[in-house]
């Protein structure tokens, strides 16, 4: 089902065409420090590949995704925290780039939704059950 959006991409033509540039060093290479790499990896999974259809930069072959992986790894290597890197990217590309929406007035309802659903559904079921007993 992941592939169905590609049906649309097929119409869009060769959007994946590469430039002749060599890939950035950390696009396809891990950081030497395993703990840094794990942190970078976790962050990359939460960043959207801006030119793909619903893929994170951690699983895309697009050139831009490679550049962004390089950027994330270099910054983590330089000692930045994942949230610092994310904030920097959000500032540069907008909230669209982060798969984890920032909690704010716009997203309050999004984060409240599961709780509201659970509470509402639970209350409804409880009331039905009580009426049945009574």
């Amino acid at each position: 089902m992941k592939l169905l959006p590609l049906l649309l991409l097929a119409l869009a033509g060769p959007a994946l065409a590469d430039s002749a540039q060599p890939p950035a060093p950390y696009a396809y290479r891990q950081l030497e420090d395993a703990r840094q790499e794990a942190r970078a990896r976790a962050l990359m999974e939460e960043l959207r590949c801006l030119v793909c259809q619903g893929q994170s930069i951690a699983d895309s072959d697009a050139e831009l995704a490679g550049d962004m992986r390089h950027l994330v790894r270099t910054r983590i290597k330089a000692g930045e925290s994942p949230s610092q890197v994310r904030d920097w990217l959000v500032q540069r590309y907008g909230s669209w780039v982060s798969y984890a929406p920032v909690l704010g007035p716009e997203t309050l309802l999004l984060y409240a939704a599961p709780l509201l659903l659970l509470l509402g559904g639970g209350l409804l079921a409880a009331r039905r059950l009580q009426r049945r007993r009574g």
Partner: protein, 638 residues
Amino acid sequence: MIAEIGLAALSLAAALALLQFAVSLAGGRLGEVRALVVPVAVAQGALTLFAFAMLIWLFLRTDLSVRLVAANSHSLKPWFYKVAGTWGNHEGSMLLWVTVLAVAGAALALFERRLPDKALQATLGAQAALALGFFAFLLLASNPFARLYPVPPEGQGLNPLLQDPGLAFHPPTLYLGYVGLSVAFSLAVGALVTRDVGPALARAMRPWVLGAWVLLTIGITAGSYWAYYELGWGGWWFWDPVENASLMPWLAATALLHSINVLAARGGLRAWTIMLAVVAFSMSMVGTFLVRSGILTSVHSFAVDPERGTFILALLTIYIGGALALFAWRVGSVREGARFDLVSREGALVANNLILSVILGTVFVGTLYPLFVEAATGDKISVGPPYFNAVTGPLTLALALLLFLGPLLNWRRDDRPNLRRIALPLLVSMLVFAGSFLFGAMSPLARLGLAVAAGLTVASIMPLVGRNLRRTPLASWGMVISHLGVAVAIAGAASDTAFTRETLAAARPGETLTVGPWTVRFNGVDPVAGPNWTAVEGHLTATRGGTALRLDPQSRTFSDPPTETNEAAIDTVWDGQLYTVLGRQEPGGRWQLRLWWKPMVTLLWLGGALIALGGLLALIGRVLRDRRQRMRAREAFA
């Protein structure tokens, strides 16, 4: 000529749908209506199927005077992919959708024997109304048979990622599932119209829901594996809107098939079951059409094709809004079902439905939320894996825990539930939880997942303990196998999250890399050529202890349209999969290699297959039992 014949068949089928709807609406003497409506429904199904066959033929001949073929096919494609390419595009997949809808209507008309005439008539009327809207959509806004002039010398080809056996089976399976739920929808509408909601309705609806659910399960599982091996990064679920679109009907159908059992066995949960039947197919429609309209990528892509977008929105509003309005109007007259206690089989099934509904609601909100934000404020936000995993992960585990006890409870009330039977599974869970700390750091969710999966593996079999296995109904076997499948799938997902090892590197021929317990030697590359692609094939030898595997991942280049794809080489051993990908050559002669060792990941899809198998057994069991009962009733009459 072929295109025109196909179009004519489609138009005729649409006219028959109109006739079927009108006759059902008008009523009249019941016997006559039935005698008229059934052949009309069958003819409508046959004509639509014929039109679809014509489109396949056009693709097979690569008739470039048909716009759809020219835009999506190519004369050099292997014939298999020419056929599959029929539904690898918007118009073709819509025709497939409508074909399944019409054929399902025909099957319902032919084989449904339990329902009273009045209910069947209302149901077929509802099915015709559904078909009519989608016929109109095809004919007015998505004509697959439209001609193209001047005729181009060659077609534009199909996206190479879609040139895969997955395309041949994945969309049709999902569509059969989506549209199978249309029958449940029509049955619910029919029941609301005739104010007759009871066990008979549940028994009529159950095989359709079970069948659709099995196909959806297979479709989702297979699609997940397809994405896993085709995309080349080892991921198997992305919370992409398109995936969510298939997950939502599945979640609703899962809830529905549990609540149907309460209605069939105990006459309870009447209004709720009707509601779920409406919601399940509504989710199918929302999923297919919102995704197809492109609206989910961006609000702005909606405007690219306003005609189709508006059409789809209008259809969704009419059908979903209409069914919900009918529900609100008639729900007061649906009698309250049989009573039950909190601690009872029904109580557990209500809890199951509650959790599934919350998951469904969350996926729905999360999928559509970016759209609302963009429409309201113009800001573009993304809602993705971090959100969905955080919500659905714990809820899924809660649902799995409920499975420890639920199937062991009595109907109606259970004052002394057999807690001894869940002691062993709970103990297993706790042991695995404690033991998991020996394996070092992993996410809490993965740790809990491993523990719950281990316990549920034991718990799922408990309902069979102490029973005469020969006399245990097939449906009970089905339940046990499906629940075991849930445990197995959770184990696979948790194991992949907890234990996967990754190595990304660039290597020269002759160099060795390690990934997890494997030593992988890169032996070099060779050129290879296929029918419409050329490739560089890498040669790898992986060794662990005495085991040696050969893996040959390819990096393919397709000419029409020009695209590069990675064909991962995946080797399955008993305790997991070794996943290897060959990337590009870097300046300096090194080749990029991506290696993953994924212990036990195979369990994920095995679990999905078990869930589907359980559903299939239940379906067979129910149908056979139903036939036996009918034959016995006939003998008793005679």
